[in-house]
Amino acid sequence: MNKDNNKVNILIVDDEASVRGSLSRWFEEFDYNVGSAADAAEALDKFRPGKWDIVFLDIRLPGMDGTELHHKMKEIDPDITTIMITAYASVDTAIKTLKDGAYDYITKPIDPDYLSHLVSNIIEKKQLFSENQKLKKRLNALCKFDKFLGDTPQIKKLLDLVKTVAPTDTSVMIRGESGTGKELLAQLIHSLSPRRYSPIVTINCAGLTPGLAESEFFGHEKGAFTGAIYRRKGKLEIAHQGTVFLDEIGCIDSKTQMDLLRAIETRQFTRVGGNEIVNVDFRLICATNLDMEKAVEQGTFREDLYYRLNVFSLFVPPLREHRADIPVIANGLLKKLSTSMNKNITGFSNGAMDLLTNRDWSGNVRELRNSIERAVVVCNKQVISSDCFVLDNISDISPQDQSLMTIEKRHIQNVLDKTGGNITHAAETLQIDRTTLYHKIEKYGLCR
């Protein structure tokens, strides 16, 4: 009967079983702890001071009615947040309970939008989110990152730097080749920072045209340009109180650089096509595989913005520079992939591991992951041997494998690898539509 301290506790009092069932399922999906009662007697039996955070209470109950039960509950636990559930016909009665300390009332049937915002506002006010649970998740994340990045002294040093900088509000620039896991590192920093309760929002600066970039960063008002049918919040606004992760920062155009610099300096901006000033508070993390100093020297990247972004610099080494980590990373990936594909593969043969540790991995951990994923698909033994790995160059394919189908399959896989499994981008590159691409992925059993 102890209060579950890790969760928000919600009690639902309603005589209709379908109402109790439906609301319980709805709240459980938010990870709340839910209890229910069919009448006042059962409710009072389950009610203790401090046990529940929010009570949903039907006005009309058999026996003692909702208003009376509400009054009793408030006597027992004056801090309890109560929300009355009422039919339109009884709204007057519900309003009276507000004078008796009810937080709000809602009419049946309940609008789910309204319900979720009502509850999240209450929780925010009560700050009920538990440290414990968040901590557990963060530790999980940390384990995952260790496995992903490796545990050589080089990587340990990097993770130490991450732990040092994460709790501060310092802007971080993460450098490293593509596929080294810069985005995961950004997420790790965010999840170890005081901003972890707010979102981390990624803006991929590569492939943003100047017009697109503006609305992506700052949002737009309805009708700001052709196709602006909704008012849309920009990502800086969505990231309020959280972290903005600017991937491929070297790719942003000069106008966006200027707009971004201003937004960083003033912490405010206006949406495209609007006048309203939006105030924001966010931490900046950016990533790049370009030589930013050279870009500054050549005048393609603003020096003032560069200094704003590059307060603290982290370098993720390419996989070939910490080969000693390959067995750890490969085994971690294998365990994960073989379980998810329902295969019982326990390890790599010596030959296969040699192959993995000696390759250059220009696509780094991402390429390693994709290769292992394909090997797991192909492998029908307990141990992955070197012949489970498919070579990447068409010229390496033996003559009998040069059928159009084989080459198509391989080419699509390569494109998918390059786009990180993004179907839309891959379809564009291949100049086929998404449906056809999905069809081919299924046909060839490819990995995204």
Binding site: S22, L23, R25, E29, F30, D111
Partner: protein, 181 residues
């Protein structure tokens, strides 16, 4: 929790085969398990509320369960009808948390509902996300604070369009944990 061996997709008054095919490959990608389309004989008029012109999603879940006896299969119903429960005005979908059955509806994902021209691509992206989201619940995943994550609870269509159709690293690790035990 047993590892699911398959997701059975059950069309309920749903005849867009192309969309079903795409959705089925998305699901199979997201959970790394096979999917198949399994028609079932469910008389939807029994679960319809004529006054509200909606389909009772809890009723659908119970029908799906009563007709699917293989305990290691997940079952996903997909319908064009607007879903409701007696206490909630509408639902994009519903699932048994940590259970087997889920149902999703395309009804609220049509741009026509918001006074815009029909857009199949938008509809498809949204229903794919919703299907992965509800199935995520059947694997025991709860809502996620990460706006990009498919397990984010999106109540507005804009937020829905913002999130991706995949799991964030935290949810991936939780999903791993769930499917590994």
């Amino acid at each position: 929790m047993p590892i699911a061996s398959r997701v059975n997709i059950v069309p309920l008054d749903f005849d867009d085969d192309e969309l079903l095919g795409n959705m089925s490959s998305s699901i199979s990608q997201a959970f790394q398990i096979p999917t198949r389309i399994v028609p079932m004989d469910i008389r939807l008029d029994m679960g319809r509320n004529r006054q509200r012109d909606q389909l009772n999603s809890t009723w659908v879940l119970s029908q799906l369960l009563s007709q699917s006896l293989n305990n290691s299969d997940k079952i996903l119903g997909i319908t064009v009808h607007d879903l409701y429960t007696p206490i909630l005005t509408y639902l994009f979908g519903e699932a048994e948390l940590g259970g087997r059955a889920a149902v999703v509806s395309t009804y609220r994902f049509r741009d026509e509902l918001y006074g815009l021209p029909a857009n199949k691509d938008n509809l498809e992206k949204r229903i794919e996300k919703e299907a992965v989201h509800e199935l995520g619940h059947t694997f025991g995943l709860v809502h996620c604070l990460n706006f990009d994550c498919v397990m984010h609870a999106s109540t507005y269509i804009e937020e829905f369009d913002y999130k991706t159709n995949s799991f964030c690293p935290l949810c991936v690790s939780l999903l791993d944990e769930r499917t590994n035990t």
